[in-house]
Amino acid sequence: MTALIDLEKAYRDALRDRGFRRELAGLLREYAGRPTPLTFAGRLTEKAGGAKLYLKREDLAHTGSHKINNTLGQGLLARRMGKRRIIAETGAGQHGVATATVCAKMGIACDVYMGSEDMRRQELNVFRMRLLGAKVIPVESGSRTLKDAMNAALRDWVTNVRTTYYLIGSTAGPHPYPMIVRDFQSVIGREARKQFREAEGRLPTAIVACVGGGSNSLGIFHPFLGRKEVRLYGVEAAGLGLSSGRHGATLSKGEVGVLHGSKSYVLQDRDGQIREAHSISAGLDYPGVGPEHAFLKSTGRAAYVSVTDRQALAGFDLLTRYEGILPALESSHAVAFGVRLARKMKRSETVLVNLSGRGDKDIAILSGKTGAGHVPD
């Protein structure tokens, strides 16, 4: 608890420091490649036959996903706090890669906890982390996925708290992490708001983003929260189907609980034991969700929907074949729902999909799952 109080204080101090803000802005621009573009998806719009579809291209950020926005910010914070070692948990490996990247850039030792099931699914990212000089520590407990990696990272942190910075990658975990991650990821929404005004002269009718722990979605939602006319949709992983019991749809099917230091919706059994989530995408395979999403659900400001593994694969195929962009399987959930939504909307309306990451990491899974030459409707 003391470490969390110290972290919050250090974070607030950093935000007040113009030097910190300037260094982060510089890194985001010159190292991470921000601002990422806003792309009009013309052929996909035609295919859907409804609202105009736009993509916020986080897949083009350095390391291939939005995760770098937060790891640069927290990396600077860790250095400022004098920590000599950074630890992280990772599901899909994108946060692990982004953490290992920042540690290489800043010369800080890096250990990444990853469930052994996720290491198998995302082998390419394991290799990337190791190339970057990070140690990837396999986690064999529980479901061997993101939840268990987070357990292991928390145990490491309480043991080495004096020297180690725990760099959480999602808007989950104990306060102040959900706030810090949301703040660093809000750059996505701020850029998108400006770019959208330039492109369309107005704000989007709807914004769609996938929700695992919730970082890319809160990042794009947050700057729009005050603009009630913009509809917000969070897309959860329905896995094999909401009624199958094998899914990651925490907000749709979970109940209020406490996991990893925050109170939110949690997939759990009748006795309060945490259930295993399931999704084809390792990044959405988490039985909890950031507490701010629970808040947005309760106030009705954002709507939460879900997309199955199969529908996400169809979303992947659509974006790949119609726009020449390979989305991450996580982001494919947002694409699938975005297309479904646009189809029912007027041609004068617009949908902005947050393309949180690129799909190169998923090639091994995809080569086993999708039939060559098959474009689903």
């Binding site: 268990d148 708290v161 406490v258 996991l259 990893h260 309060g272």
Partner: protein, 264 residues
């Protein structure tokens, strides 16, 4: 006065120290667990800490993680743990503290849990992942039901937090010996004696040292620094080794007796 307060005021008069033994409820199986709890009490434990197994025990090392896994796989529940306490209470007056993570209590209903725990004969409750800032969700319910609320402090806590934690609870203050998780260790971290001195200075409650106390010799040296000593993983290892075999409870009884003897 609660059973735990009685115990400590008696020990204050006699100059003795309390031995707290931790066991995971339902380990190795719901119907084999009670024999181990009896054995701990018969071996001389002054307080039994009954762990409610949780799927994601972030404060526990491999030994107690595995115990929780065994108990859950064998069908242990929160209600089942309360039944164990109830069966134990029919035959023993030894104080019992329930130790767990917040989510199962929240799911059960915090008020209902506290009332049912008292009805089962439990004397206190310790929630390892509910810091003093958040204890308002459960501590008042525990007090109202008549349970001692056992607060925890860690080596990073500092004097102000120790004071605040000790004021937030009753029974005793659980002092974590190391920055880290539960588990068997070969020695205490350097600086533990000084840390224990700080805690005793700022706590208005009796102080129990836990995490890592693994041998009779370690129990003896920890007992010199505090009012009580908690031994968890070393006892759970005996359960792990013997499982459902008849020799298990005897082995635990002998080990607990050796701890108690060393602390005299």
């Amino acid at each position: 006065m609660s059973r735990i307060e009685d115990l400590f005021s008696g020990l204050r008069r006699s100059g003795g120290k309390a031995l707290v033994v931790y066991l995971t409820a339902g380990d190795p199986a719901p119907d084999r667990s009670l024999a181990y709890i009896f054995a701990a009490a018969e071996g001389g434990a002054d307080i039994i800490e009954v762990g409610i197994p949780f799927s994601d025990p972030t404060a526990d090392g491999p030994t107690i993680q595995a115990a929780a896994g065994r108990a859950l796989a064998a069908g242990m529940t929160v209600g089942g743990a309360l039944s164990l306490v109830s069966s134990f209470r029919e035959r023993h007056g030894t104080p019992a503290v329930l130790f767990g993570y917040y989510n199962p209590f929240l799911r059960y209903g915090v008020g209902a849990f506290c009332r049912d725990a008292v009805r089962a004969g439990a004397d206190g409750v310790l929630v390892v992942d509910l810091p003093v800032e958040e204890s308002g969700e459960m501590a008042p319910e525990a007090r109202r039901a008549g349970l001692d609320w056992i607060p925890l402090v860690a080596p990073t806590s500092g004097p102000e937090r120790v004071r605040r934690a000790s004021r937030s609870g009753s029974g005793f203050l659980y002092m974590i010996s190391v920055t880290g998780i539960t588990g068997v260790r070969k020695s205490f971290p350097p600086g533990m004696a000084a840390w224990a001195g700080e805690v005793r200075k700022h706590s208005r409650l009796p102080v129990a040292i836990g995490f890592g106390v693994s041998t009779p010799a370690m129990a003896r040296s920890a007992a010199r620094l505090a009012d009580a000593v908690v031994v968890g993983s070393a006892c759970v290892q005996i359960v792990e080794r013997h499982g459902s075999s008849r020799t298990g409870p005897d082995a635990l009884r002998r080990f607990v007796r050796s701890l108690k003897t060393a602390m005299r």
